[in-house]
Symmetry: C3
Subunit: 356 residues, 3 copies
């Protein structure tokens, strides 16, 4: 009887397996269709009008109802997991994430990552890997481009480390590069009753804080189904047998699912901020588990007119999500760290129609 041939299974890369400049094409390409959009909506509760209704999308200028920006992001992200973060100790951050083309039902996304930074940790047990990942559609057009960095275990602490290189990352995506995935929007026909809000770009002010009021409790079946929808195979989300013996004793909710829930909750107050143009940065401050109830609030960090566009403006938002704590008093940082119930801090640019 033959012995096991472990080489046929994917064990995931360790820190030593990455090389600066390396390019990794990821499996598996994925066609997103209207069924994925329905399921995503049902798992997160999204109500933004262009993603919900063909009629609304076409009226304002889209050729069809676009796939939710975060669904497309999660699918691209999901592909990178087996190659980049299967042996990750922690997902440290995102930066410079730009949405460059709208994704429509029928589009097929695939992903490629480039290793743009490597830095061994001082304990030599692990290192930080920086990758720039690009999601492309079936025409080869980049639809999403972002950087993330993860702490990855070394196979062998004594192995030699590459020269440290940490990429220079922008603190925020520049206003000039926002809006590429957003067609010209007809702000006159953008119907405030159908969209759920009369508030336009001009109605928001830097410093304004919005409590999104509602809370949503997460079940194991929900986050597992969502994470499988993205074909993200990270074991911490699915395997109670191993996680039961692990750090938390439980399965961890995929951080992207928390982002999606916070975004869906933000409809209550930001209903017209219909498109995420860029994610400047994101931090999963604490883990979320099934049974927890997610709340969220947002602060308008900055408002920006877009060069050469008078149809939409950009709101730079910091959305903070908590678990089991309503956000009427805007919980956030505390001393050096975060208020204990905070689970997510997300800094992003969303577009909203200007006044007609």
């Amino acid at each position: 009887m033959a012995a096991s041939v472990p080489s046929k299974t994917v064990a995931g890369r360790f820190f030593e397996d990455f090389r600066l400049g390396q390019t990794i094409r990821h499996a598996t390409p994925r066609t997103l269709n209207s069924g994925d959009a329905s399921l995503y909506l049902a798992l997160t509760g999204g109500r933004f009008a262009p993603q919900s209704a063909e009629t609304f999308a076409r009226a304002i200028g889209y050729p069809a109802s676009p796939i939710d920006d975060l669904l497309a992001f999660h699918v691209v992200f999901g592909k990178t997991v087996s190659d980049v973060s299967l042996n990750a100790v922690a997902n440290l951050g995102y930066a410079d994430c730009r949405f460059l083309k709208p994704v429509f039902p029928g589009d097929t996304l695939s992903a490629v990552s480039h290793v743009i930074g490597l830095k061994e940790n001082s304990n030599r047990q692990s290192g930080v890997v920086y990758v720039r990942s690009k999601g492309s559609n079936q025409r080869g057009e980049t639809v999403i481009d972002y950087v993330r960095w993860v702490m990855v275990r070394k196979r062998d602490a004594s192995s030699a480390a590459p020269e440290a290189h940490a990429p220079k990352l922008p603190e925020a995506v520049a206003v000039e590069s926002l809006g590429e995935a957003c067609p010209p929007i007809d702000r006159v026909v953008f119907d405030p009753e159908l969209s759920g809000s009369p508030h336009r770009f001009e109605d928001y002010r830097a410093g304004e804080r919005i409590d999104h009021v509602d809370g949503i409790t997460v079940e194991e079946a929900e986050h597992q189904t969502a994470t499988r929808l993205y074909q993200n195979a990270a074991k911490v989300h699915f395997n109670q047998f191993s996680e039961g013996q692990g750090r938390f004793g439980r399965r961890l909710v995929y951080g992207g699912h928390v982002i999606s829930l916070a975004r869906a909750l933000s409809f209550n107050g930001l209903a017209n901020a219909f498109h995420i143009a860029a994610i400047n940065g994101g931090r999963h401050v604490a883990p979320l588990f099934a049974g927890d109830t997610v709340f969220a609030w947002s602060e308008i960090i900055e408002t920006a007119a877009l060069p050469r566009r008078d149809d939409v403006g950009a709101l730079r938002l910091r959305t903070v999500a908590t678990k089991n704590r309503p956000c009427a008093d805007f919980p956030w940082r505390e001393g050096e760290g975060f208020e204990p119930h905070v689970v997510l801090e997300l800094d992003y640019w969303a577009l909203a129609p200007r006044r007609p």
Copy 2:
């Protein structure tokens, strides 16, 4: 740092915010596609043939497989929640609900409500609001038209009440107005083996009772996913943090989900009653919670030939659903009220093919 601007979030209308004759256009329009149909089927267990198979639907006379009547109803209902019942104490009833056009994958539904009645309660803490809601498709055709009434909190008990006005509602939808959403049906090709039953309209008799036998246990992830599919944002269904401190200590299953489960269970005995033409009235007698098992039985209240149609006949049905109690002995009323396990009483008209 700017203060909260609560005006950007939807707090929902209080009793004082409604005016007789008022018209409310609801957010968000919603395109229903085949993915919604699949997910609805998977969440409820529907097996009625025209909704399940394109071939069957086309053979009997539909241009395509129609979206389940109740899925369309829940989507229209869901839109009204933020504007009508966010501050509701109780959903009191439905009446005069007519299905006027079939809904097909690709159709976009939007909803408008008219306030047709207002009646302050004697304790002055709340009042009853009656709305007639209409769901329309992208061509502006009304597909569903119904009345519901809800008890809504007052913002301020001392505020003046409008003159009381309760609309006159029909006890049942008239036979003459049934069947508008049902195309001419070819009763000869309506295949009894494929549909799951040899029983035609003529085989049912007023007074006949049918135990639907099967039971179905509801999980939190299922009713939450279903309710989000309908974009119904009523917090009692999703927020364990707040509901845990509330009346029941738990999330409440959306009453419409109970109707859908009872309808799906009714396939066992009513497989050929393929279309809901009207809902005469419905009462959610007791709450349903995750973990409960739903059973159902139906009584044929009346059978009616339809004027100018010899293809289908109408069965007026009372479907009673229970929790954690099989229905072999047809549990229903008890004294002034209901047998303790009853959760739903639904009075509706369904169409079944006549004998070839």
Copy 3:
């Protein structure tokens, strides 16, 4: 008030109700669309490239992305339940299951079963029923053909039994009849990075064992939703009220869901074994319950070139699934029976591309 009319509900056939040579056409036909594919993927975690991406499927030779073989199988199987196994004591086995045509979104499946064997048990309480079931598409082409046998209760132990007849079944599907559902595959463009593995047919050897490494925990909401997606109405999967009083005190996960999970897990090691051409046999060795974590490993039993085809080869696989036990040491049989954590043994033929 009229009495119950139980004849309108389906009580299911008892052993006496089957006759050798009998043909049963099953309800309800079912159109599978891209929403079903999305939901199936989200419930099981499938990542095989042709089923995931239109672009990949078309590049290698499919006219469109095919519906997962097991989704089609479960839908066909589901139809047979109400007519064949509603009163089953146990599902004893499958054999000679051949996939004869690919199924694409938009196809409508219906099912017919032929009784090919009957054998009363010596205790006269029950008997074994053998059926050959065929699933057909809307053009009347058989897409799946398989035999299963179940132990069915007798209505009356004293009733006369038919003459015993057990069909002769092949131990495995012959190599000559494999591949009918697989179009000619362009093995040159079959991209190993996109598919997730460089391993071709020629890289596998009889006797080779592959641990699929990952585990997946099953929730009640997940297996119920999957089983309803297949319109499989077997009560043991849905009704906690009755099952709570039954043999296990709990709902049983549909065995087909276990097969789907094992198949999805097998991606890690068998990513290029993209199509199930035949199932030689399958045994559900022990029940699976919600909360259990499924692991799996596979052994290559045999490799076979296909006559007249140089594009793909066939791997005969034995996939063993366990609950709550990783498979690094390949748990399987123990003495006369099975290692205690084994839940499934599946013997099947999968096709993989040959070397370019």
